[in-house]
Each structure stands twice: as structure tokens, then as C-alpha cells.
């Protein structure tokens, strides 16, 4: 990077911010100068238009267009080929199966671990530090996490000393070193471990807050009834945090469906580890199979759809109450 490059970059940022400020300033100026007649209407347009226009150009229209592209073959005619490919080609089917495995395992395990950990450290000394340690992966990029775990799974051939922690443990116990990331189907589970490692902290933080929100009287009453800790946990704590549990599970499910960076960084989807989001990128932007990529995006959307509908219903009920 030369000094000129750096100057160019700084100049871009400064100019970008300045132009943006000027546009917003102009907009506000016109909102204030709106004609007396229909003033409220003009003001509304001024406040809403930027966001709505951007969303229409950048999300709504592209999503509609992607759906259209999914039904076109390479010569631009309507066909079901992309979807037929998805459900008949072994590699594509494997991608779908992997995605299902991810979505089944990551949310449940991460939530279970997060809940257990939250209960274990509840009211212990140094709770903050316990939390920070497990929560930290949440701030790390998936790419960084991928590198961290590739190092754990590193394999050295033959009699050389293992530098990856997992193989060092295996050989230390007298076993043979394994090429973890090349061994199908084990490798998919090892990638899932990385996602669980990232998401557990999130589950723990949310559920810990929920546990602290349970009224002390309930626990106290249960204690007076002579329950043991396990009964208290299953009959008082879990019902008390049901709402948060649903939130955590759905949130992690959505994040897992879209998982891309981990697979990209660790195996690039080779050795039968690909998932829908990664395959979508590979097909659309690497193999120039826009139709197939779009079809995969549509599948991803369909998988998320039930959660969208559920949330919209919850939101509508909330807004009616207001």
C-alpha cells in the first residue's frame, strides 16, 4: 500500500460521509420547506422514502427476481431443471442433507450447553468472567473461528509430531492420527462443532438473563415443598424461561441455515461438507450457474419462511394490543 493508496482511501471515506451528510441535509431542508398544503404528507415521504427506496431496490425487487431466475434454464426459458437438479444430483442432495443435519444439531446442542452453563455458573463467584470466556467467540468473525479450529484439526502425516490439538490427544492416547477435515461424514460434525462453539455463548447470555428474571418466590415455594434441585430445574426454571428458549432456538436456527463462512474457510465445501448457503455461492458466483444458485437461495428462503410467518404473527398480535 502506497501513501497515494492510503490517501485515496481516506478521501473516499471523507467524501462518502460528506456527500451523505449533504443529501440528508437537503432532504431535511425540503421537509421543512414543504408546501403548506399536504405538509404532513410531504414530511412523511421525506422521512420514509430513503429507506423504502433502498429496500425496494436492494431487497424486495432482487428477491422477486431471484425467484424468477430459479425457474429459468441457461437459454432463458421457463423450466424446472434447477429444482430437478437439486433433488436428483447426489452432490446436491448431500448438500440438502448436510443442511438438515446442521439445523437439527446446532440449535439443540448450543442451547442445551448454553442453558447448562448458565445454570451452573448462576450466582457463582466470578460469574462475569465465566460468561465472558464462553461469550467471546460471538465477537469473532466466522473466518477467524474457522482458522482457529483448522489449527485444532490440523493433521501431520506419518511419524511427525502432531501440531493440531485433536490429533495430539489421539496419538497421545496411542491412536493413529486422523485427517479430520477430509473424513466424510465426520468432517461435517466437526464443522458443526465450530458453529456450536460460536453460538453457545449467545444462548447462555440470553438464558442467563431469563433465569434471573424468574421470581424468587417461585423457587422458594418449590423448596418449601421439598423438591430436589433437578425437580426445581425442570418444573420451575424451564417453564419460566420457555419464551426465551423459543427465541434462542429460532435465532440459532436461522443463523445456522445461512452458515457460509465456516464451511468456506475450513473445507470450501469439499469432501461432502457443503451446505445450501455455501453451495448457492459456489454455483452462482464460481460456476456461473445463476439458475441453480437462485434455486438454492429460494430453498433457503422456504426453509426460513415458517419462522418468518410465526414472527410476523407474534408481531401483529403485539401491535394490536398497543
Amino acid at each position: 500500500m502506497t501513501t497515494a493508496d492510503l490517501l485515496g482511501k481516506i478521501l473516499q471515506v471523507v467524501m462518502g460521509l460528506a456527500v451523505f451528510a449533504a443529501i440528508v441535509g437537503l432532504l431535511v431542508f425540503f421537509i421543512d420547506r414543504a408546501p403548506k398544503k399536504g405538509r404532513d404528507y410531504w414530511q412523511l415521504v421525506g422521512f420514509l422514502a430513503p429507506a423504502i427506496i433502498l429496500l425496494a431496490i436492494g431487497l424486495i425487487w432482487p428477491a422477486i427476481r431471484t425467484t424468477g431466475l430459479a425457474f429459468l434454464d441457461n437459454s432463458g426459458n421457463f423450466s424446472w431443471d434447477n429444482f430437478i437438479w437439486m433433488f436428483t444430483q447426489p452432490a446436491a442432495i448431500r448438500t440438502l442433507i448436510n443442511t438438515v443435519v446442521w439445523v437439527l444439531l446446532v440449535p439443540t446442542l448450543a442451547t442445551a450447553l448454553g442453558l447448562a452453563y448458565a445454570v451452573f455458573i448462576d450466582k457463582s463467584r466470578g460469574e462475569r468472567y465465566y460468561k465472558a470466556l464462553v461469550f467471546m467467540p460471538m465477537a469473532i468473525s466466522f473466518v477467524g473461528a474457522g482458522i482457529i479450529w483448522r489449527f485444532v484439526y490440523e493433521y501431520r502425516a506419518g511419524e511427525r509430531e502432531q501440531i493440531g490439538l485433536l490429533n495430539a490427544i489421539v496419538t497421545g492416547l496411542g491412536g493413529e492420527p486422523v485427517q479430520w477435515l477430509q473424513t466424510d461424514p465426520l468432517n461435517t460434525f466437526l464443522l458443526i462443532v465450530v458453529m456450536i462453539w460460536i453460538q453457545t455463548g449467545f444462548a447462555m447470555v440470553v438464558l442467563s438473563a431469563a433465569i434471573k428474571g424468574i421470581p424468587a418466590e417461585q423457587i422458594e415455594a418449590a423448596q418449601l415443598d421439598g423438591t430436589n434441585p433437578w425437580q426445581r430445574f425442570t418444573n420451575v426454571t424451564v417453564p419460566g424461561i420457555r419464551g426465551s428458549l423459543v427465541v434462542v432456538l429460532t435465532t440459532i436456527s436461522i443463523a445456522t441455515l445461512k452458515v457460509f463462512d465456516i464451511v468456506r474457510t475450513m473445507t470450501a465445501g469439499n469432501f461432502n461438507t457443503s451446505v445450501v448457503a455455501n453451495e448457492m455461492y459456489t454455483q452462482a458466483f464460481r460456476a456461473s450457474e445463476v439458475g441453480r444458485g437462485s434455486a438454492l437461495a429460494v430453498i433457503l428462503f422456504l426453509l426460513v419462511l415458517p419462522i418468518v410467518i410465526y414472527n410476523v404473527n407474534v408481531l401483529r398480535k403485539q401491535r394490536e394490543i398497543r
Binding site: Q43, L59, W61, P62, V143, F151
Partner: protein, 328 residues
Amino acid sequence: MSSVAPVDLPTGEGRDDSSFEEAARDTKSSRIKRRLTSPWATAAAIAIAVVWTIPTFGLFISSFRPAELIQTTGWWTIFQNPGFTLDNYRDVLFSPSQSAPQLGAYFVNSLAIAIPATIFPLVIACMAAYAFAWIKFRGANVLFILVFALQIVPLQMALVPLLQFFSSWLRPLQVGLHNLIPIIPEQNYLPVWIAHTIFALPLAIFLLHNFIHEIPGDVIEAARVDGASHSQIFFRIVLPLAIPAIASFAIFQFLWVWNDLLVALIFSGGTQDVAPLTQRLAELVGSRGQDWQRLTAGAFVSLVVPLIVFFSLQRFFVRGLLAGSTKG
């Protein structure tokens, strides 16, 4: 968080300890020991904490070891094979050789992408959130629910057409800018900024609306009666009051953009001119997956900013995260 089944989670001001602050306990609960813990539970907690920390710790230790030691011995043998060096960092950051990672330029890119891509959506979303909360109009509900639903739509749905749109409409502008000011390369930050801004809007509007909606109506009404215009109310009353929500979202969005790989891969062009750290790292893994001395140091260069933000602004980050965990 509220973006998925907005339940009433204790994430508001002053009544949560999701920010790891020990909440003040009422005397009743401190009187009874309602800990479910036992020595076993404590042991399990310590085990989990250790297992969760070791991978990162191992990489961190390795990043300060000489290359030949990294390649031949495990990092846990640091005491048998001592060695400390800053060469790995010097190599990835400042090495002039073309084959080196040259992360310096990419680090600047990450910052140059993340700062505007945090500010733009914040301002636009604040305005939209204000309109949804305090300007009455027909169809407000339907429009708001549409915006809400958009935050769960996978990015993958929008990538291909948006890229086509940029290459036909934004490209001429970028070339024109380059001809006007040669110091700015043809590949510039515009597409990445715009993409990140658009993708951030649904969540930002939803979050800020929830907050702005809670501002007492009499304050707004009184200002209206005094003849204040909407923009005056927005700048003088609403924005100052919404600072906590703005801070939460800003931190969440900053980390999101800093850590993003997908948007960068598609809209940055992948050159030193625009590509962020994450993209460069992913490339290094692909092409030089065995250069552990570079990967370890490189990974930590990319982690340093998120970790600083995380440890210093944990509170805000948690709140932003709870509110915006379904983004992307």
C-alpha cells in the same frame, strides 16, 4: 432478539444483567440459597470454560512462536520448545514482498468499509423509524410488518440481481469518479457500502422503532402544539433520547460489517483497493493453508478490533446482539 418472536426479554435498561453486571438482588433471594449448583456443577462449568477458551488461546500462543517451531511442535510444548518472536506479525502487516499477506492495506479497508456502513443505515433507519412511530398514515402497519419480515429474508435471495444492478448502474459512476480524481481507484467502496446499508435497514428500523415508539407521546404532542416541525422534533427530541438504542445498534452493525465475508466476496472485487481483512484471510487459507505462522498472526490482526470492542463495550454489544441476532 426481538427480531425473532419479540418476547419480553429482560434486555432493557437497568433491569437486566445480560451485560454481566450483577443485578442487585432482593434480600429475599439472597436469604435463600437458590443455587442449583454443586461441586459437580462447578467442575462442569470450569471444564466448559476451559474447552471454550483453549482453541483461541492455542492460536494466540502460536502467533508469537517462530515459524519452524509452529510447523514442528505443538503450542502446548511451549515450555519444552521455548521461542518468542514478533516476526509473524511483522510479516503479515508490513512485509513488502508480493507473496506476503500485506494485511495493512486490508486492515484500512475493513475500517473504511465498516465506519460508513455503520453510519449510513443508522441515519436512514432513524428517520424511517421516526416516521413509523410518530407520523400517522394509512397502511403504516402493513408497511412496517413488511420491513420487519425482510430482516429474516436470507441475503442469498438478493445477491445475484443486486450485483447485476450494480454492474450496470453503479459502474459508470465509479469509473467517472476515477477519471475525475485519479487517486480514487475504479474499484471503490461504493458497492460494499450500499449493499451493507441496504441489508442493515430492516433490523435497524425495527430496533430503533421499538425504542422511539416508547418516547412519551405528550413530549411530542407538546412540541407539535408549540409549532415545531417534524424535523425539529426529530433532531432536538427524538435523536437525543434514542442514544442508547443507537449505540447498541451501531456496535452490533460495526461488528457485523467487520466480520462479514459474504457481502465482501461479492461486492468488493477482491483487490487490495477494497477487500476487507476477512476476505484476505479466507484467501490465505485457500491458497496457503499450511503457512500457519501467517494464518495465526493474520487471524489475530483481524480479531483485535472486535475483541477490543467486545471487552470495552460489552454491555451495548449484548443489547444489540439480543435485538439483532437474526441478521444476515
